[in-house]
């Protein structure tokens, strides 16, 4: 079972449907988390949502508790939340991407995906990861071709993954394949 933590977003149920293609999904709001479900889950997914990681201390706590013990996947805010917990700074960006389709590319040979591969993806984010960014075992694996902003990270040692873009958006081509690969990693 995959446990999805919702941060009051209007895209969460697209994520639920996407992950449900591969496994049973349970979804609860971040302030209504079931300990039982957390323990039972094989993977925890942190949903997109408004605001910044600072506003969700409960989610940070969950991340810290289960890091290394369960697979954790963050999407958009979830991506930022994980990096924030690892000490990264999340900052406002000049150009804002809401409802934007971008071309991104796999830039690392440590990725589950083939280096050089390009994707078309949907983006909804005001904030971004501040770089340079260096944390043990965390690798930035995809970047926006135009702005070079970090679009995904992988920590294959602890099985922690994050996407700054939205794999569940209709703007993302082959989003299901991305999720399938991460889930089978």
């Amino acid at each position: 079972m995959i446990y999805l933590i919702d941060h009051n977003d209007s895209f969460t149920h697209n994520v639920v449907h996407q992950f449900s293609l591969f496994d049973k999904v349970e979804c609860d709001n971040y302030n209504n988390i079931s300990k039982n479900k957390l323990e039972k889950a094989s993977a925890i997914v942190l949903s997109p949502g408004p605001g910044s990681p600072k506003s969700y201390p409960i989610t940070s706590k969950i991340y810290r508790k289960f890091k290394g013990k369960k697979k954790i996947i963050g999407i958009c805010l979830g991506f930022q939340q994980i990096l924030f917990c690892e000490g990264a700074k999340i900052v406002e960006q000049k150009k804002i991407y809401h409802g934007f389709q971008s071309n991104i590319q796999v830039i690392s040979d440590k990725s589950l995906f083939k280096k050089g591969k390009k994707f078309k993806v949907g983006r909804y984010h005001s904030l971004k990861l501040k770089e340079p960014f260096k944390i043990k075992d965390f690798e930035i694996t995809m970047r926006c071709l135009e702005s070079k902003v970090a679009m995904s990270f992988e920590n294959n040692k602890n099985k922690i993954y994050g996407f700054q873009f939205h794999p569940e958006s209709f703007l993302t081509i082959n989003g299901n394949l991305l999720i399938k690969k991460i889930l089978s990693a």
């Binding site: 449907h17 449900s20 804002i96 005001s126 904030l127 209709f170």
Partner: protein, 386 residues
């Protein structure tokens, strides 16, 4: 007696009635055997009403509206104290008569009091500017991705709603147009937007984001190019498509939510709309209330993400939205339903007419443009008062 005379007679009789756009023309509903005034409590029993019918009739339905506040409360959002004219939060009627009307409604009331345009706006440009900047900051910090600020135009007036509605339909034959005439209030609307159509387990929603006026130089192909090139409209549209997919996904089976028309242009009498059509198949045992809670209030007129944006809006807006961005439509006894989003409407209550409009703040919108856009939207309705 021909249809026009029948309508005129009904109107003059003072009996309440409702007109709603159909595929071929309009449907007229009247002879109401029940009128249900909705509140936060009785809405549950109203929506869960199940009627067994031996022989189904075309009047086996409740028709009416859910106001904006009621729809907020239904999803657990409280609205702070606002200026309120105390219009009921929602009203539904059980009709006993349904009559088909043609598109071409002929009714004129030349005696109907037409006053000079003395509408007053509730937010002037300076305050609008301030609110606009405040929300732009909220977008930059990621608290909302898009937000639609409502402004209101009001005037004291008695109106003849049928006269208004007939004239409005002549210039703008909108696919979700409706009017309600009751003893103490009336609503006239040329809403273009269908929020929910449910038949059996099939459900669709048809968000609109992007409108352009028809003229000699603007045909369907050019309109599509115009929308495609307009990055702001495209981004707003994308966001609404993902949001509506999300809302349908709450109540639909996994894998059934499909974008069946993605960003196409639809042609109406005077306008082109940039629309998408999203379909899904409902999960078993989905109740009416689940559908209403998942889909309403309609995302395209609020912004995104819904909950946070509603809270931001409600804390900002000093006056109750009443019917504006609520939903009008019907629920059949068998659970099928059709609901629109109430926009482009005039509410006349206690001899005050109000017209509400909103336009979206996204990160690259321009305050002057949006303020004017609001006025243009209101003007089409204000002009009916001339």
């Amino acid at each position: 007696m021909n249809i026009t005379n029948q309508l005129t007679q009904l109107h003059n009789s003072g009996k309440p009635y409702i007109i709603y756009k159909s595929n071929k023309g309009f449907n007229l509903y009247t002879d109401f055997s029940k009128k249900i005034i909705l509140n936060n409590k009785n809405i549950y029993s109203f929506l869960n009403k199940k009627k067994k019918i031996k022989k189904s009739k075309n009047t086996d339905l409740f028709i009416g509206f859910f106001g904006y506040e009621l729809l907020n409360n239904l999803i657990g959002i409280k609205i702070p104290k606002q200026k309120n004219i105390n219009l009921p939060k929602g009203i539904f009627y059980k009709p006993e008569i349904k009559i088909s009307l043609p598109n071409n409604l002929n009714y004129r009331d030349d005696n109907c009091a037409k006053k000079k345009n003395n509408f007053k706006i509730n937010i002037n440009k300076k305050s609008y500017s301030k609110i606009f900047d405040k929300f732009k900051k909220k977008i930059k910090s990621g608290e909302t991705y898009q937000i639609k600020i409502c402004t209101k135009y009001k005037t004291i007036s008695k109106i003849n709603p049928l006269d208004f509605f007939c004239r409005l339909s002549k210039t703008n034959l909108a696919p979700e147009a409706f009017m309600i005439k009751d003893k103490n209030y009336s609503i006239i609307s040329c809403s273009p937007e269908n929020l929910v159509t449910k038949k059996g387990s099939l459900i669709t929603t048809k968000p609109i984001a992007g409108t352009v006026k028809k003229n000699k130089n603007m045909n369907k192909i050019k309109a599509l190019n115009y929308f495609k090139k307009n990055i702001k409209e495209t981004k707003e549209h994308n966001m609404i498509v993902d949001m509506e997919r999300n809302d349908l996904s709450r109540i639909c089976k996994v894998g059934t939510v499909k974008l069946s028309k993605a960003k196409v242009v639809e042609e109406y009498k005077d306008l082109f709309h940039y629309v998408s059509l999203i379909k899904g198949k409902l999960k078993k045992n989905t109740k009416n209330i689940d559908v209403i809670k998942a889909m309403m209030p309609g995302g395209s007129v609020i912004g995104c993400p819904k909950i946070n944006t509603l809270n931001l809006l409600n804390n900002q807006e000093k006056e109750n939205r009443n019917i504006y961005t609520g939903s009008f439509g019907y629920i059949k006894f068998n659970g099928d339903m059709r609901f629109n989003i109430i926009i482009r409407s005039i509410l006349n209550f206690k001899n005050i007419s109000e017209i509400s409009v909103a336009s979206g703040v996204v990160v690259d919108s321009n305050v002057q443009h949006e303020f004017n856009e609001n006025y243009i939207k209101a003007k089409a309705l204000i002009d009916l008062f001339k």
